[in-house]
């Protein structure tokens, strides 16, 4: 009788841990989707900025082509359930952000471009989108922390191992990217 009760309690506990893990994994995937929604906005906005910039920055072929290249890589499909592919996807988007910051820094050297009404509005929209990406990144990282704790701490780590649930990578911004860009450092 006691053995049956003990088995019953164990089964219930395992089931609760299983539910929690699945919820955390789904929560992280949801947070990843919300990042993708915001990254897609940036992805769609970049060509508009490039079109305006090209008119004034003919001699900055390297800067412009880097943005185009990173946009193409960051927009590739990936498997959301595969942490390595997620990490590559996030890294590619970090590189795109970096290329865009470089573009805006170089654009400082072109007063005609800076004063263009369309460029001013495009830059404002870009800043707004970056704000949303940053917010989505914080939501994602918060979800990743919860999942990582559950996957690495006993006893849920055993269930996670059995189910093949892995921790997802953080979406971090490098320290150098947090700092305001100085045009003189780049030129």
């Amino acid at each position: 009788m006691y053995i049956l009760i003990a088995l019953g309690v164990t089964a219930v506990m395992i089931y609760i841990l299983y539910i929690r893990l699945i919820k955390l994994r789904n929560g992280t995937l949801e947070a990843l989707s919300s990042i993708d929604v915001q990254l897609k906005k940036r992805h769609d906005l970049v060509p508009n900025i490039l079109t305006i910039a090209k008119k004034f920055m003919e001699h900055e072929e390297g800067v412009l082509s880097k943005v185009t290249q990173m946009r193409s890589i960051s927009g590739s499909d990936y498997d959301k359930n595969n942490p390595e592919e997620v990490a590559q996807h996030l890294e590619a988007n970090k590189q795109l952000q970096s290329a865009m910051m470089n573009l805006f820094a170089v654009a400082e050297n072109y007063p005609d471009l800076k004063s263009q009404e369309t460029m001013v509005r495009a830059q404002e929209t870009y800043e707004e989108v970056e704000g949303h990406i940053s917010a989505a990144r914080r939501f994602y990282n918060s979800s990743v922390t919860d999942l990582k704790n559950a996957v690495e701490i006993l006893p849920s780590s055993i269930i996670a191992n059995m189910l093949g649930i892995k921790a997802m990578p953080f979406f971090e911004i490098d320290e150098i990217e947090r700092k305001p860009v100085s045009a003189s450092d780049i030129l």
Partner: protein
């Protein structure tokens, strides 16, 4: 007008035509007080005389009720004079910095705050002192509220307790958003668990430990909540919450606006009880108005860098 210009205009407030008006009110207050003392003395003397000389000891029973009645009439008279002083002073102060003042706001002003659950439940409310206008092109609307809960004990005796006294203020917010994000006081783990069922939206866990200790955030959009509550804005909220003039802050974002319920100590924007022409009284009202500038400045509501 910038905040600094508004502050300067407020402090250079010249009583001008207001001085004689306040002096006249102070004279009336003194006169009313002297009449009160005279009546108390006269009645006291008569009662004392009748009791001692005529032996009308039953008068003792009525003397207490009589004293209460006289005090009540005096209190009413003083309230009218105080209110008059306030009605003269507050519109003049607000006008000085281009703001509008209304002594009796509509009771509907409280509805958004009640719907957003950033004020406690109440049985009775008093709204007064509505100040509205623009501070550095930011639209705002402020009302002073006092919310009271009425309860009855086992014998049916009524008791009143103030559950909120302070400012209800809304500002235009500089970011575009569609959802609803509510920031309330943290009631510790058990309290949050018990009150959590009544909260709208999901709990939002933020990175700042101090903010997490002091506030609970709920939103129907996790990403939007973090878009609004950036690490920098969180710091500003904490700094504003530390001001001595703020007892407790609760806030919400909805329809492009930020709503704040700021619990404060005592009544604000008052005409004073004694010395109605005292410059300190004007200074106190100026300090109350200046809290509006602190809100805009500390929370950086005018900035457009979206952080």
């Amino acid at each position: 007008m910038t905040i600094e210009e508004m502050r300067a205009a407020l402090h250079s407030f010249d009583e001008g035509g207001l001085g004689p008006v306040l002096d006249q009110l102070e004279e009336r207050r003194k006169k009313a007080f002297n009449i009160f003392l005279g009546v108390v003395f006269l009645l006291g003397f008569c009662v004392f005389f009748l009791i001692l000389e005529q032996g009308l000891t039953e008068l003792v029973k009525f003397s207490g009720a009589g004293a209460l009645l006289v005090s009540f009439f005096f209190y009413r008279r003083m309230s009218v004079i105080r209110r008059e002083a306030k009605e003269k002073l507050m519109p003049a102060l607000c006008d000085q910095i281009g703001l509008n003042y209304n002594l009796h706001p509509l009771s509907s002003e409280i509805i958004p705050y009640r719907n957003l659950s950033i004020i406690p439940s109440y049985d009775e409310m008093t709204l007064e002192d509505q100040i509205s206008g623009k501070v550095e092109e930011i639209d705002f609307n402020l009302v002073e509220a006092k919310l009271v809960n009425v309860s009855r004990d086992s014998k049916g005796r009524k008791s009143r307790s103030t559950v909120f006294q302070g400012f209800l203020v809304e500002f235009d917010f500089h970011k575009n958003f569609n959802g609803e994000t509510i920031i309330t006081k943290d009631h510790t783990a058990i309290g949050n668990f018990l009150t959590g069922w009544a909260k709208k939206g999901e709990k939002v866990k933020l990175e700042d430990p101090e903010f997490e200790r002091k506030f609970e955030v709920h939103s129907n959009d996790q990403v939007e909540a973090r878009y609004l509550l950036t690490p920098l804005f969180i710091e500003r909220v904490l700094k504003f919450n530390r001001l001595s003039s703020v007892k407790q802050l609760q806030m919400a974002f909805k329809n492009g606006r930020i709503y704040m319920a700021i619990k404060r100590k005592g009544n604000s924007f008052e005409g004073g009880s004694f010395n109605l022409n005292d410059p300190k009284l004007i200074e106190k009202n100026m300090q109350d108005i200046a809290l509006i500038f602190d809100m805009v400045k500390e929370l950086n509501l005018t900035q457009e860098t979206k952080v």
